[in-house]
Amino acid sequence: MDFEFSVVIDSLPALFEGAKLTWYITILGIIGGMIFGILAGLGRIAGTAALGEKPHGIFIWVSVLIRYISGAYVELIRGTPIIVQAMFLYFAFPMLVKAVTDIERFRIEALTAAIITIIVNAGAYIAEIVRGSVISVNKGLLEAGMSLGISRFQLIVHVIGPIAIRRMIPPLGNQFIISLKDTSLFIVIGVGELTRQGQEIMASNFRALEIWLTVAIMYLIMTTALAMTLRHFEKKMKMF
């Protein structure tokens, strides 16, 4: 076996460019995914006892509608592969737009499609993390707060929120790492992220061992950085 270290060195600039793009997609995807996830996760338990008292009158139906929309989103995304979602968004969605509107040259940039895919995909999983953490908070704490005459909003902000967020951190760490690795699938829509860069170098010099080992190590460094950041947050929070 001959391992040419110079191949690794030569490939680094291009791989770094790919890693930067991977990082960029991941960070934007995670931030957007958190927003989607929190909205859909809370949406799935809107108007239930988990968030305090049940609504009255018209709000009953509003909350039912919100629960159905959030639930449909989560099930739709969880139930289909992310690679299909990416290809649908990049290849099929513009055709769909063309078919139903007059816009002739509708196109989504590959990078934009990649970021949107991560946002929407991570959002669905994060929604379940949010929902699970919120419903795991002891209902007695809400009752204690309500019996002090404190508003539901204040209790969500000061009691349910902080406790639920602490419980979300370990599963969020999982999801962030999964989302980072999922960016490698965007090779299929031609985004020049880390895996794609590796593939291109490989195709020109056929040095599979050096390239894929380097690529793997670069992923490992990025996922470790994510994991350590979350660990840091976990430790900073008061333990109880």
């Binding site: 009255h56 007695g140 404190i150």
Partner: protein
């Protein structure tokens, strides 16, 4: 003394199961009412209806002259005047003892931080936990946690305190310290109290009135010593026989 709590023909159902049947019940200002009864008799549900943690199904509830169901929008007003102490303490686990007690005054009574903290300190002192103010609930014993919970309920300055089996989750050696705090509150401040408990000693010593519930109905009521000495119903005789052995 005028009635501060009144239940008129109150029924409460969970789904198709009626757990309170046509309850008529009133508490005067300053009165200490002790509610006893076997498990599943509806005593917890009864007091949870008073601060609207459970909504009554039919009938009328009047607390501090607020009428339910007519004035549903004023439930928070009721809760400000009716504090509650729970069997499982339910302290906020991420807040220190002091923060737990100061939380109500700050968020429900809209006090500034230093005033709320002063109130919290003096209440922790009152329940004998001044030196534990910076401990988290998880670092306190059950008895200490329950005393913090009592201080927390007192902190919003309610007119009524409800106790839902406050000593049932405690080790035997810690029951005394919690009952002592409750006795002091009843004697010193003349607080109106409704206490669900199995502590017959407490009932005899502090209670102005004893209520025996069975199967969602008030079966007997009267002066604690009278009710305990001369139980009228077979059900109460049987029940007293069981609790006295503990």
């Amino acid at each position: 003394m005028p009635n501060i709590i009144e239940l008129k023909n109150v029924c409460k159902s969970f789904g198709n199961t009626e757990v309170l049947h046509n309850i008529n019940f009133a508490v005067e200002e300053g009165e200490v009412v002790v509610v006893i009864g076997p498990s599943g008799s509806g005593k917890s549900t009864l007091i949870r209806c008073i601060n609207c943690l459970e909504m009554i199904t039919t009938g009328e509830l009047i607390v501090d002259s607020i009428r339910i169901p007519d004035e549903q929008g004023r439930i928070r007003q009721i809760r400000l005047e009716v504090g509650m102490v729970f069997q499982q303490f339910n302290l906020f686990p991420h807040m220190t003892a002091l923060e737990n007690v100061a939380f109500g005054p700050r968020k429900a009574r809209k006090m500034n931080k230093s005033k709320a903290t002063d109130i919290a300190r003096s209440l922790l002192d009152k329940v004998g936990l001044a030196e534990f103010e910076n401990k988290l609930p998880g670092q306190l014993s059950g008895g200490q946690q329950q005393r913090v919970a009592i201080a927390r309920a007192l902190a919003v300055n309610p007119k009524v305190l409800l106790f839902d089996e406050p000593t049932s989750a405690l080790d035997p050696e810690m029951i005394g310290e919690v009952l002592d705090v409750m006795k002091n509150i009843a004697k010193d401040s003349g607080m109106t109290m409704v206490v669900v408990t199995h502590e017959m000693g407490f009932a005899a010593q502090v209670g102005n009135r004893l209520i025996f519930m069975d199967d969602g109905r008030i079966v007997e009521e009267g002066k604690p010593s009278d009710v305990m000495k001369n139980p009228q119903s077979e059900r109460l005789k049987d029940f007293l026989g069981h609790v006295k052995h503990h």
